[in-house]
């Protein structure tokens, strides 16, 4: 709020200067622009005591650093007894308050139990997604020599860059840091934990009755045809639990991975300014995906606690 008009004007000049520098570099000095190699798995950067460290693990380290830092800051700020939190703690508090209201709406009395998952997933994925915004991530890295590398190297000023190979390639870029959400291990880990916790909360709230959702023999003998259909639907629920893992994992992965590929493509087509617009889009997508992941996890957990039997009867007969 203390931002003066002067500062904003200053910011505009910076934007203009960056724009002009970009125009000079790419259109006057003719720095070659390439589309980086798109690789699904995370690349290995170095080994630490025999264990390979990938660039997404490095990103995860930074994400954890930020999240733990926020957590530490918030706990300190709350412990200081202030009524109003300022800065990042205040923003986190506002976020937590908002999503807690939503959790209360869906989960009712289980809100307090389920909510930490929502908060954890939201914060972790949000920080991970927004890391994509930082320049240098996924573009600065080791130039690696391999037989299936497609690029040649070229000295650009003080830096060694990679350019499109004319005949012989043999070089590839391994970024030091790659957004952790574009690593399937990360998204799959969250998805698996969430689905396991869904089953856990289901059993905790309903006991053995929770399994009747999957092995529905209550109506098989009492109702001629619909009983069998109910039983089949129950078996399908098992499949749906696995598809939950898949859709959770690939939704986040697909959005973020596609986002980074989109940025690559746009950057290679129009090197100046055009990417900024898509950065805005990615900023939005990153926030939405983090929110959707958390909200879906909360909703599924809440549904598991509320019991399914009755609803499925009605659906089956409808």
């Amino acid at each position: 709020m203390t931002e003066t008009p002067k500062q904003r004007v200053w910011g505009r000049w910076v934007v203009l200067a960056a724009f002009l520098v970009g125009v000079y570099l790419f259109y006057v000095a003719k720095i070659p622009v390439i589309m980086p190699e798109v690789l699904l798995p995370a690349e290995e950067v170095f080994h630490l005591g025999g264990f390979p460290i990938t660039n997404t693990l490095i990103a995860l380290f930074f994400v954890d650093l930020i999240v733990f830092g926020i957590a530490f800051g918030v706990s300190r700020a709350v412990a200081s007894g202030k009524q109003i939190l300022g800065g990042i703690s205040g923003a986190v508090e506002a976020l937590i308050e908002m999503i807690y209201g939503m959790t209360e709406g869906t989960a009712g009395k289980w809100a307090k139990t389920i909510f930490p998952w929502f908060a954890t997933i939201m914060l972790l994925v949000l920080v991970a997604n927004w890391m994509e915004m930082i320049p240098g991530i996924e573009t600065v890295g080791l130039i690696h020599t391999s037989e299936h590398g497609e690029f040649a190297t070229q000295q650009i000023g003080p830096f060694l860059g990679i350019v499109k190979a004319e005949g012989e390639g043999g070089h590839a870029l391994i970024p030091y840091v790659r957004v952790v959400s574009s690593d399937l291990n990360f998204t799959l880990a969250i998805a698996i934990v969430v689905v396991v916790m869904i089953q856990y909360y289901g059993i905790k709230s309903q006991g053995a009755a929770y399994f009747s959702k999957f092995w529905n023999v209550k109506t098989v003998f009492t109702k001629p045809i619909f009983g069998v259909i109910d039983f089949g639907v129950g078996l399908l629920e098992i499949v749906s639990e696995f598809s939950k893992v898949l859709s959770f994992a690939f939704r986040l992965f697909g959005n973020i991975f596609a986002g980074s590929v989109l940025l690559f493509v746009i950057g290679s087509l129009v090197p100046v300014f055009a990417q900024s617009i898509f950065y805005l889009l990615e900023f939005f997508v990153g926030a939405i995906q983090a929110f959707v992941f958390g909200l879906l996890a909360t909703t599924f957990m809440a549904q598991a606690t509320q019991g399914h039997g009755g609803e499925h009867h009605e659906e089956a007969h409808a």
């Binding site: 939503m102 709406g105 869906t106 898949l246 596609a258």
Partner: protein
Amino acid sequence: MEAAAAKLIGAGLAMIGAIGAGAGIGIVASGAVQAMGRNPDATGTIQTNMILGIAFAEAVAIYCLVVALLILFVF
């Protein structure tokens, strides 16, 4: 090289399935916006349910994406 070309074509074809998801998400969002316009008080609930509906519609597109990725990188 023919196998590689076929892979690329197959991946592209697999993503055709995203059409349905796109249309579905559009319908969901349209309905939600109309509902919010008619009953602004229920915006919170509608938004939550809209995101849920979009997520389910999107799941189909995600399966397409999975298939495309599998074709591109696995086979």
